[in-house]
Symmetry: C2
Subunit: 266 residues, 2 copies
């Protein structure tokens, strides 16, 4: 069965989680009214990305936090699944996390970023993920990745080999990395024959600019929807029958020759 | 030191190796006159790609073949390195191979395609490659891949991990696979911080059409040169100092987390 999903590309509400929750409520309503079954938001949507160590720590929350309860209630109220990033209180420090919450408000999956990006991420996040989980949702097998994670082809490949047919990627992509939004995302979709939703920030936070260019790509690498540089709600329809045809046409997963890939895990 | 390299995107000389060698001679002269130190030609340039089993067998050659001697003499005569594809006589049948020949006419590397594409390749080629070799050439570490090989991210990754900073890809890309030429090639260059030369056929052979769109990409994913749909000689300058700056800016190879990639070699 086809499903429509949405991405909210937004300037967000820097270092103001309560304002972010209000924005989430309004955006979830709008996306639901336009027929979306899922709304994907940027990396660390709940707080903004460019926090620095102190704010990342003070704004971090657990999944039991009252704010998280409000987020789950928003999903329930508008009957829409949500995927969004938040700084997570974890044993040993703060993690750069994203959660997938279904339309009943249940947390289906929490993913912690595995590949930390440069000094920015490393200043804020002491805890990294321990694997690439996937979960069943509305007929899809869904995996998550966060920003820099998806630049490593191993991330999407591991998710696809675990059965993912839809990968959700909250991100905070800056200049001069347009090549990631313009080329890497459709390449990941094509090479793994998966749908990808890549949800970026726009605007800037404390001098750090983001390029927008969020996109939803199909399993043949087609760009189904793509945002420009500013705030935008983009939508695309995911058609599992089309995905099945693409996978029947080319055997990109079955034609792999793992015996020659050993250096990748060395 | 910077080096200029060229790609000859051509309709080739279907099933006529002697005509292909004449075309090679003229093209190598032209590329050399325009300052290129290396000329890359499409998959199975010596014979054309869409041969079928019988012609692939009857036109296959070894590296000791008199035609190969002529090809090496062309490199020497014009003082230009050559990378080109040919059906290779191998123990057990025919391989889809490509050779890198230096400007002195020495064969530096022969690579056999590892990932066979659908019924087309499988009808022609019983022998596949046994690894991803690299070789030193003019200050670069060079690896080869052939067409479908490069659609698997593991191919370019294995080459990069073996030290490749320049990957040469003879190809025969058809409709509707524009996404490979448009997006996968710049993504491979970016994610591995390598130069890539992707040399395609244009025109058609026996009803099989090729889309052109050959390109040379830089280690930041920039498209340095790209052909349109027809015959064309494209050139680009490779700057190792720029590659070093890109690799110093982002640690895309060092930031890998191989402990989470085990499923890729299972």
């Amino acid at each position: 069965m086809t499903l429509t999903i949405a991405i909210c590309q937004t300037e967000g509400c820097f270092a103001d989680p309560d304002a972010a929750i209000s924005l989430l409520d309004a955006t979830a309503r709008a996306a639901s009214q336009r027929g979306a079954a899922l709304l994907v938001l940027p990396e660390l949507f709940c707080t903004g990305y460019n926090l620095g160590a102190d704010r990342a720590r003070s704004l971090a929350m657990s999944r039991e936090d009252a704010r998280f309860t409000k987020i789950r209630a928003i999903a329930r109220a508008h009957g829409i699944a949500l995927c969004l990033g938040f700084p997570e209180i974890a044993a040993g420090g703060v993690a750069n996390s994203a959660a997938l919450i279904d339309a009943a408000g249940e947390i289906l999956l929490t993913y912690r970023k595995i590949h930390l990006f440069g000094a920015l991420d490393r200043a804020m996040f002491a805890v990294r993920g321990g694997g690439f989980p996937v979960v069943a949702w509305r007929g899809f097998t869904v995996g998550l990745a966060i920003c820099y994670d998806i630049e490593f082809p191993e991330t999407a490949r591991a998710l696809a080999l675990a059965g993912a047919d839809l990968i959700l990627v909250p991100t905070a992509l800056m200049p001069p990395y347009d090549v990631v939004a313009d080329h890497v995302i459709p390449a990941r979709a094509y090479e793994n024959q998966v749908f990808i939703a890549y949800a970026n920030h726009c605007g800037s936070e404390d001098g750090l600019a983001y390029i927008g260019k969020s996109s939803i790509c199909g399993p043949d690498g087609a760009i189904l929807a793509k945002a420009a540089a500013g705030p935008e709600l983009i939508l695309a329809m995911l058609d599992p029958a089309h995905q099945a045809r693409v996978r029947a046409r080319d055997a990109l997963l079955a034609d792999r020759r793992p015996e020659f890939y050993r250096s990748l895990t060395a």
